[in-house]
């Protein structure tokens, strides 16, 4: 307002800027460092990956030099590699197996912890510890728990009379995938539970009360009230789970290194091997970009869902 009243004389030293303009300038200034950092350390490397994927780059060119453009040659090499398709299959098994199990168990636990009872909050927080441990720690730990000779799980099986089922889980190619899924589900359950709990708390308790008054059984209430109302949250949780699970690297790398032979070499481990073991940078970059397809698709869905919720007038919590 003040600048309108002031004489319209341009002074080189004092410039009158409205507070809103000043504020906007400050805003861009605030964004600058963070966005520059992400441009340098995230966006540029990803674009550089695209560049590498269409060049013939190997260990010799690590410090720069004569990289030869070779078009889609790297992509063809990856797509012609049976090991790549094997990894795609393993990634699908690992992701679907982990996702379904951790969602189902997480949902069951959320239903339990949604009811108020003494010490509920404390126990729920304790469960989160599984999710918080560094994946390398949980990987090492499950390697020991699933150990053939003196692992805790085999001892447990023997203890309850199922000794016949005790097994060398991680070194047998036919069960190693089950072993890493088991460990990964353990890590993922608390996170699923936490997000599903938030969803359960948004359900109006009066709905359940009214249905109970009308004589609906607990199962009917679950089936016709809880499940349909939990659908949007469930989709969100599964989408997030898909993105997280598809990129799991640490826990598998530590538990089996992708083995025995290649029984647990999911896509991220395949990319690692091509790039860091064989130093085929061009092919590794191409495989890495192919690995991006699934998370990006899931991300598109996720963002579109967020958009729709932003537009919703009531702005439901989830």
């Amino acid at each position: 307002m003040r600048q309108r009243l002031a004489p319209r004389r341009r002074s080189p030293r004092i410039r009158f800027l409205s507070p809103s303009v000043r504020r906007r300038r400050a805003g861009y200034l605030f964004c600058l460092p963070g966005m520059t950092f992400l441009a340098l350390f995230l966006a540029y490397p990803l674009f550089y990956n695209v560049w590498t994927s269409v060049h013939d780059v190997e260990l010799g060119q690590l410090l720069g030099g004569a990289e030869r453009f070779n078009g889609l040659e790297n992509y063809r090499a990856v797509l012609d590699d049976p090991a790549f398709w094997h990894s795609v299959r393993l990634s699908l098994i690992f992701t679907l197996g982990s996702l379904l199990l951790q969602f189902a168990i997480g949902f069951a636990l959320a239903l339990l912890f949604a009811r108020p009872f003494p010490l509920g909050g404390l126990l729920r927080s304790l469960l989160m510890v599984a999710w918080l441990l560094p994946p390398v720690v949980s990987g090492t730990l499950f390697r020991w728990l699933l150990d053939a000779e003196s692992g805790a799980y085999n001892a447990l099986l023997t203890g309850v009379g199922l000794g016949a089922l005790s097994h060398d889980w991680l070194t047998d190619p036919s069960t190693s995938m089950a072993g890493v899924i088991f460990a990964n589900v353990w890590v993922g359950v608390p996170f699923n539970m936490l997000l599903l709990l938030v969803g359960l708390h948004t359900i109006d308790p009066e709905l359940h009360e009214a249905a109970a008054v009308d004589g609906a059984s607990a199962w009917q209430r679950f089936r016709h009230i809880t499940l349909p109302l939990m659908r949007p949250v469930s989709v969100t949780v599964l989408l997030l789970g898909l993105v997280y699970t598809f990129k799991v690297f640490d826990i598998i790398f530590v538990m089996t290194g992708g083995g025995p032979v290649d029984a647990t070499r999911v896509l991220p481990l395949y990319v690692y091997e091509v790039f860091f073991t064989f130093f085929r940078f061009g092919q590794g970059a191409a495989a890495g970009l192919l690995l991006l397809v699934v998370p990006l698709l899931a991300g598109v869905f996720y963002v579109r869902r967020l958009r729709r919720e932003d537009e919703a007038p009531a702005g439901g919590a989830v």
């Binding site: 605030f30 963070g34 350390f41 590498t52 009811r115 469960l127 390398v136 991220p268 590794g284 989830v318």
Partner: protein, 275 residues
């Protein structure tokens, strides 16, 4: 949900489930406290008798463990500092100032969380080497911050949005400059969000493995997660010492979570469900 008729019965059920679920953690600590000659027995002991610190002294005697723990501490504190310095102003601007392009920036931050770390580790391996950043704390801190920064801004934005704009306007009218408003009015109100972001960034930096594995060559800057993985190869079946190392790595995680629990759980759900 209706209040249950027998709440203590639910407590009992939940306690049994929690105990069974956390058995692996108990087993880790138990193994680390068991005498080495009693660990690999056909029928394992459920309670270590006698309790011994032997595995811890063995582990701390392994070459590089103390150094690696220190490295991890430096790296994760660096990650927290860099994340907050870059993230707090960014989150403030995106939450409270009408900017052209802020929608695009928020979208970019959401997308930034999608790529698997290996897709980033590969080009960073080449680029950091050429820039002389490989094998430095700074190189690792920067790589880890690509994970924490987008996350932090997404967590902080809803927190900042909930601060009523009138508070800020009143302070501005009272003659507080914008920096003053930020320091005295906005910052105190965002403390819970910042604490959550700091705690989560620390946990991510402390547990990070892949960048440590690919961007640090030598023991000088290598984080302890990479060393634990190397121990499995070197000390194969010394499970007592391995579990002692794993326990040592877990202690700060549990401490940070215990202290910041409320904030972290709140921040986590706000960030991932509400976007």
């Amino acid at each position: 949900m209706r209040p249950p008729r027998h709440p203590w019965r639910l407590t009992a059920v939940a306690t049994v489930i929690t105990a069974a679920f956390l058995l692996p953690v108990y087993w880790m600590v138990k193994t680390s406290l068991t005498r080495p000659d009693r660990i690999q027995t056909p029928t394992p002991q459920w309670v270590p008798t006698p309790v011994t610190g032997e595995n811890y002294s063995t582990a701390l005697g392994y070459e590089g463990l103390t150094r690696a723990l220190l490295n991890s501490l430096v790296i994760s504190c660096g990650v927290v500092a860099l994340t907050l310095v870059l993230g707090v102003p960014l989150a403030y601007a995106l939450a409270r100032i009408r900017l052209r392009g802020s929608g695009a920036m928020v979208l970019a931050l959401l997308v930034a969380q999608l790529p698997p770390a290996i897709v980033l580790a590969a080009p960073l391996f080449i680029l950091e080497r050429r820039a002389g950043l490989s094998d430095t704390y700074l190189g690792l801190i920067a790589a880890d911050t690509t994970l924490t920064l987008p996350f932090t801004v997404i967590v902080l934005r809803p927190v900042l949005r909930s601060v009523p704009p009138e508070l800020e306007e009143a302070a501005l009218v009272d003659g507080c400059g914008l920096p003053g408003v930020l320091l005295r009015v906005v910052l105190p109100l965002m403390v819970p969000g910042v604490v959550a972001a700091a705690g989560l960034s620390f946990l991510i930096g402390w547990g990070e493995f892949l960048f440590g594995l690919t961007l640090a060559e030598g023991p000088d800057v290598q984080p302890v997660t990479v060393l634990l993985n190397a121990f499995i190869g070197q000390h194969g079946t010394s499970w007592g010492a391995l579990m002692a190392t794993a326990t040592l790595i877990s202690i700060p995680v549990v401490c940070v979570f215990a202290v910041f629990q409320r904030f972290i759980v709140g921040g986590l759900t706000a960030g991932s469900v509400r976007g």
